[in-house]
């Protein structure tokens, strides 16, 4: 055991003679700064940009790109209070509200790329009426008897609480064609 300790001690002392603490810190510092600066190089930036596909919410000017507006493109068939005006977002309920697991699904056309996207309209439940940004757009919406495409239903029937707070318009994905009712 003593022999082992002695060998380790010799090795550590030899290492200490060869490398000062300052040298070590300087080298580590160079490495860290270099790694941080690498993405600033034009080549690295070019690679990142070419791989990036713009999100469908980007590059939409005015109200159609504003989640707090009823004219927001994803709100093409919303009937209720837009959750983005109630402390949430177009995709998430405000804190303290529960998303209804059941909702209705349709498509909206994105004005930026002219493509159709599948949108899931779900209600957020368990808090009193939000009362802000009350919207009523009905593109592709159908009467109560065609309930899978109806926005008059309180979808909180599928949540723990029946109390309606606001509605989200979640982007599910790109659609090959608009929903058949449009």
């Amino acid at each position: 055991m003593n022999d082992f300790d002695a060998r380790i001690e010799r090795a550590v002392r030899a290492l200490a003679r060869r490398t000062g603490r300052r040298t070590f810190l300087a080298r580590i510092g160079t490495l860290l700064v270099g790694a941080a600066a690498l993405p600033l190089l034009p080549v690295a930036r070019g690679a990142a940009e070419s791989a990036r596909v713009p999100a469908p919410d980007e590059n939409i000017p005015g109200a159609q790109g504003d989640p707090t507006s009823c004219e927001y493109w994803r709100h093409c068939a919303i009937d209720g209070f837009a959750c983005a005006c109630c402390g949430g977002s177009p995709s998430a309920c405000p804190p303290g509200a529960e998303k209804s697991p059941v909702g209705w699904i349709g498509t909206c056309r994105n004005p930026a790329d002219g493509k159709d996207y599948i949108i899931s309209y779900n209600d957020c439940c368990g808090k009193n009426w939000c009362g802000r940004c009350g919207c009523n757009r009905n593109e592709g919406e159908r009467p109560d008897y065609h309930w899978v495409r109806n926005n008059d239903i309180n979808w909180c029937v599928s949540a723990k609480s029946l109390v309606y707070h606001c509605s989200v318009a979640i982007l599910v994905g790109q659609a090959t064609e608009p929903q058949p009712e449009r």
Binding site: G103, I105, V148, A175, T176, E177, E181
Partner: protein
Amino acid sequence: MRRARAFAVMCATIVLAAAAADAVPGPAEDYLLHCSGCHQQNGAGVTDLVPPLSGLAPFLATPEGRAYLVRVPGVAQAALDDERLATLLNWVLSEMSGKTPDPAYDAREVNALRADPLRDALAARKAALAH
């Protein structure tokens, strides 16, 4: 020159036909738009409210059960033509319940079953599973 023009027209027609063929959504997309609002994107359903699609295999054990899967209102009334509905049903069964229908549903069978709507879906469900 005339031949070259004819060749160009032919190529354009093929490209356009291929583009048109690509424009038809597949069953996974049809599932999202026509089924997932209730059954959820993964087919898990909602406890005590919407049945999970993983439990469909027993329906295929009898002719009544097989017919029920088409005649149930959510399927029969989906805004899809017979061909796409048959494709969607086959896809849901193999992907979510692990049971590929044999024979597979086709447009003709779906058309005939849709023409015979269920008067009492719950009773039909119970009867289909009782055999």
